[in-house]
C-alpha cells in the first residue's frame, strides 16, 4: 500500500499545532513568501506552470496557464478570489485547512498575489463556516501586523490586502462566475462565457483569478521546493498530492493525502479506509464530488492511454483505477473536487439518486430553463418512485430529461445535475426497472435516504 504523503495536511490534526502565526512560523511558515518576494513575478508564474499543478476545485485546469490568461494590457486592477465555498457534496478538505492551518492558505494567497501583481484579494467563504471566517480574519490581522500582508509587505514596497467575504448558503456561489456576481452584491447568477471569462472580465469587469483553497496552498509548496521538484511528485500531467475526502458507507471515512495517481480506488477504499462495514459489500462510488458520474463495483474499463510519451493498454477493474484526473476521465467520470462517496449493498440506488436530485433541484439558480425545469422533474420522478408511485419505465424517463440538460445551459451546473441521473440510471438499469415492484412489496425504507 502506498504511504500517505502529507504536504498540505502536514500539520492537520497534529497534537499541539495551533492556527496562530507563532506556531506557523515555528514550523517554517512564511519562508516561501520571503523567497517569493525576492523573485521576479513572471518567474514565479513560470515556476507554477512548470509544476504542472492542476486546480483542485473541480475542473482540474492547469493553474499556471490560468494565470497567464490574465488580461494585463487593460491596465485595470487584477483581483484574486479564493474559492472557499466548499459546497460540492462529499468535499470537506478546505474546512480543515481553514480551521487548523489558516496561515498556510494566507501564505499561498500572498505569493499568488505577488506573482500576478494583485493588490486586492477576497476569500469567498461559504456562510456555513462562521467559525472559519473568524479564524481567517484573526490570521489575516496577525499577518498584517507582522508585515506579511497589507501595506509594504516584508519591506518590499509591495502592498496587498485580503478580506474575507461570507456567502449565505447557496451552492451555485461555488461556480466562479456565480461567485463573482455574489461578491458584487447580487444574486449568484453565473455569467455567459464568452465573454465573461474571469481572467478578462471578472470582478467589477476587471481581470480576476479564481482559485480553490487547496490549489493556493500548493502554490506555497511549489515555491518552497521548486516547480520541477513538485512535478516529480505524483504522475505525469497529474502532479503533486491531493486530498481525498472519503465519506459514506466505509469503515474509516476521512481525509487522506496521497500523490496523485499513485494510489488506486481499491487501495484507498480497502486498505486505507478499512473496507466495507461489517457484513456489507461495496456497490458504488462517486469519485469526485456528487456531480461526478457514479462508478459501479464489478465494472471493467479497457482501452489505450497515454503514459508519459507512449500509449499503453489498460484493462482495469474499478479497484485498479488510479486516482488521478486523467484516469478517472478515461473511465467516464472525473477527479473533480476529490470527494469520494461510497455506497454499499444496503443502499438503494434509486433513493441515493433521489437524494442528489433533491439537492440539485434546490440549488439550481433558475436562469436556464433546461436546468431549472429539468432538475425539478428529475427530483419529482425519483421522489415519486421512492413514495411507491413509480413505474418501470421511470428510468428511461429520467434519462430523457437528463439528456436534454447537459450542453444547453449557461454554466456547468447543467452537467453537474445531469451526470448523476445519467450514470445511476445507466449503470443500475435493472434496479431502477425493478424498484417500483420491489417498493410495493417492501414498503418504505426504515433508513430513508430521501
Amino acid at each position: 500500500m502506498p504511504a500517505e504523503r502529507r504536504i498540505i495536511f502536514e500539520h492537520i490534526d497534529q497534537p499541539g499545532y495551533t492556527p496562530d502565526l507563532d506556531c506557523y512560523v515555528r514550523h517554517g511558515g512564511y519562508a516561501a513568501l520571503r523567497k517569493a518576494v525576492a523573485c521576479k513575478p513572471e518567474d514565479l508564474v513560470s515556476e507554477v506552470k512548470r509544476s504542472g499543478l492542476r486546480g483542485r476545485g473541480g475542473a482540474g485546469f492547469p493553474c499556471g496557464v490560468k494565470w497567464t490568461l490574465l488580461d494585463r494590457r487593460s491596465g485595470k486592477p487584477i483581483y484574486l478570489i479564493v474559492n472557499a465555498d466548499e459546497s460540492e457534496p462529499g468535499t470537506f478538505k478546505d474546512r480543515y485547512i481553514i480551521h487548523q492551518d489558516p496561515h498556510q492558505l494566507i501564505e499561498g494567497i500572498m505569493i499568488t498575489c505577488f506573482a500576478n501583481t494583485v493588490k486586492q484579494a477576497y476569500i469567498y467563504i461559504r456562510g456555513e463556516f462562521p467559525e472559519g471566517a473568524k479564524i481567517l480574519e484573526r490570521a489575516i490581522a496577525e499577518a498584517r501586523a507582522a508585515g506579511l500582508a497589507g501595506p509594504n509587505i516584508l519591506g518590499t514596497g509591495y502592498s496587498c490586502e485580503i478580506y474575507v467575504h461570507r456567502g449565505a448558503g447557496a451552492y451555485i456561489c461555488g461556480e466562479e462566475t456565480g461567485l463573482i456576481e455574489s461578491l458584487e452584491g447580487k444574486r449568484p447568477y453565473p455569467r455567459i462565457k464568452p465573454p465573461y471569462f474571469p481572467a478578462v472580465l471578472g470582478l467589477y469587469q476587471c481581470p480576476t483569478i479564481v482559485n480553490n483553497v487547496e490549489t493556493l496552498c500548493h502554490v506555497k509548496h511549489i515555491v518552497s521546493m521548486g516547480g520541477d521538484a513538485f512535478a516529480r511528485i505524483g504522475t505525469p500531467n497529474n502532479t503533486g498530492t491531493r486530498i481525498f475526502c472519503v465519506s459514506g458507507q466505509v469503515q474509516r471515512p476521512g481525509t487522506y493525502e496521497f500523490e496523485v495517481g499513485k494510489i488506486t480506488m481499491g487501495q484507498l477504499l480497502y486498505e486505507v479506509c478499512g473496507g466495507p462495514l461489517p457484513g456489507r459489500k461495496f456497490k458504488a462510488v462517486i469519485p469526485g464530488g456528487s456531480s461526478a458520474k457514479v462508478l459501479r463495483f464489478g465494472e471493467h474499463y479497457k482501452g489505450k492511454r497515454r503514459a508519459g510519451a507512449e500509449m499503453v493498454d489498460y484493462d482495469w477493474a474499478l479497484e485498479d483505477v488510479p486516482l488521478d484526473f486523467d484516469s478517472l476521465a478515461l473511465v467516464g467520470s472525473m477527479g473533480g473536487s476529490g470527494g469520494v462517496i461510497v455506497m454499499d449493498d444496503s443502499a438503494s440506488m434509486v433513493e441515493a439518486l433521489g437524494n442528489l436530485n433533491a439537492f440539485y433541484a434546490h440549488e439550481s439558480c433558475g436562469q436556464c430553463t433546461p436546468c431549472r425545469e429539468g432538475s425539478l422533474w428529475m427530483k419529482r420522478i425519483t421522489a415519486r418512485m421512492v413514495s411507491g408511485e413509480g413505474r418501470a419505465e421511470d428510468g428511461e424517463l429520467l434519462k430523457s430529461v437528463a439528456d436534454q440538460i447537459a450542453g444547453r445551459t449557461i454554466c456547468a451546473f447543467g452537467e453537474a445535475c445531469a451526470w448523476p441521473t445519467q450514470s445511476f440510471v445507466q449503470k443500475f438499469a435493472a434496479e431502477f426497472r425493478g424498484y417500483p415492484e420491489a417498493r410495493k412489496s417492501a414498503g418504505p425504507s426504515a433508513a430513508p435516504l430521501v
Binding site: 466548499e86 459546497s87 460540492e88 457534496p89 462529499g90 468535499t91 470537506f92 478546505d94 474546512r95 461559504r126 456562510g127 456555513e128 463556516f129 462562521p130 467559525e131 478580506y163 467575504h165 461570507r166 456567502g167 449565505a168 448558503g169 447557496a170 451552492y171 455574489s182 461578491l183 458584487e184 452584491g185 447580487k186 444574486r187 449568484p188 467589477y204 475526502c245 472519503v246 465519506s247 459514506g248 458507507q249 471515512p253 476521512g254 481525509t255 456528487s290 470527494g339 462517496i341 455506497m343 443502499a347 441515493a352 437524494n355 442528489l356 433533491a358 439537492f359 434546490h362 440549488e363 433508513a447 430513508p448 435516504l449 430521501v450
Partner: protein, 162 residues
C-alpha cells in the same frame, strides 16, 4: 432601525472593504440578521439606503440566499444536513429525533418558540456524518442518541434563561 453601536461600527468597516458599495450587501445582511435575528422589511430598506441601492436589490438577495430569513423563527436554529453522505449515515432518522424532541416539523418552530428545525444541504463535513449545526456550532456524528443529548442541553439552557 435600532442597531447596536458595534453593529453600526462593523457595518462601516465592511463597506470600506469594497471599491463598489453594493458588494457589501451580503456582509450587511449578515450583520443586521445577527443583530436583530431576522430581516424584516425595515432592515432591507435600511440596508438599501445605506448602500445607495433600491430596496428590490436587497430583497432579491434575501429571497435567494437560504441563510437569510424574513421571519423570526425560534430562538435557536437546528440545521440537519440531509445530503447523500449524511443521509447514508442516518440523517433522516436524526432529523426525526429532533422533531420528536421538540414537537416540531422540518421547517417549523417548536410550540414554545425555542427552536426552528430545518434540513440543509451538505455542510462540508461529510467524513463525520451525520452533521448538525446548532446556530453557529457544528456537531459531528449525530445519531439519534446524540441528538437526544443535544436536545436535552438546549432544553436545560432554555430553562436556565427563562
Amino acid at each position: 432601525m435600532n442597531l447596536k453601536p458595534e453593529t453600526l461600527q462593523r457595518i462601516d468597516v465592511a463597506v470600506a472593504h469594497y471599491p463598489v458599495k453594493r458588494s457589501a450587501a451580503l456582509p450587511l445582511l449578515h450583520l443586521v440578521q445577527e443583530d436583530i435575528g431576522h430581516l424584516p422589511g425595515e432592515a432591507v430598506e435600511w440596508i438599501a439606503s445605506r448602500l445607495g441601492l433600491e430596496p428590490i436589490h436587497v430583497y432579491e438577495l434575501v429571497t435567494f440566499y437560504p441563510m437569510f430569513r424574513q421571519e423570526p423563527g425560534g430562538r435557536r436554529r437546528i440545521k440537519v444536513c440531509r445530503t447523500l453522505s449524511c443521509a447514508l449515515a442516518g440523517a433522516y432518522q436524526t432529523l426525526a429525533e429532533f422533531e420528536k424532541q421538540f414537537n416540531a416539523r422540518q421547517g417549523g418552530t417548536s410550540p414554545d418558540g425555542e427552536v426552528t428545525i430545518e434540513f440543509v444541504e451538505c455542510l462540508a463535513s461529510c467524513g463525520t456524518a451525520p452533521v448538525v449545526m446548532v446556530d453557529d456550532e457544528l456537531h459531528e456524528k449525530v445519531d439519534c442518541e446524540k441528538a437526544r443529548q443535544i436536545a436535552a442541553k438546549i432544553k436545560a439552557q432554555a430553562r436556565r434563561e427563562s
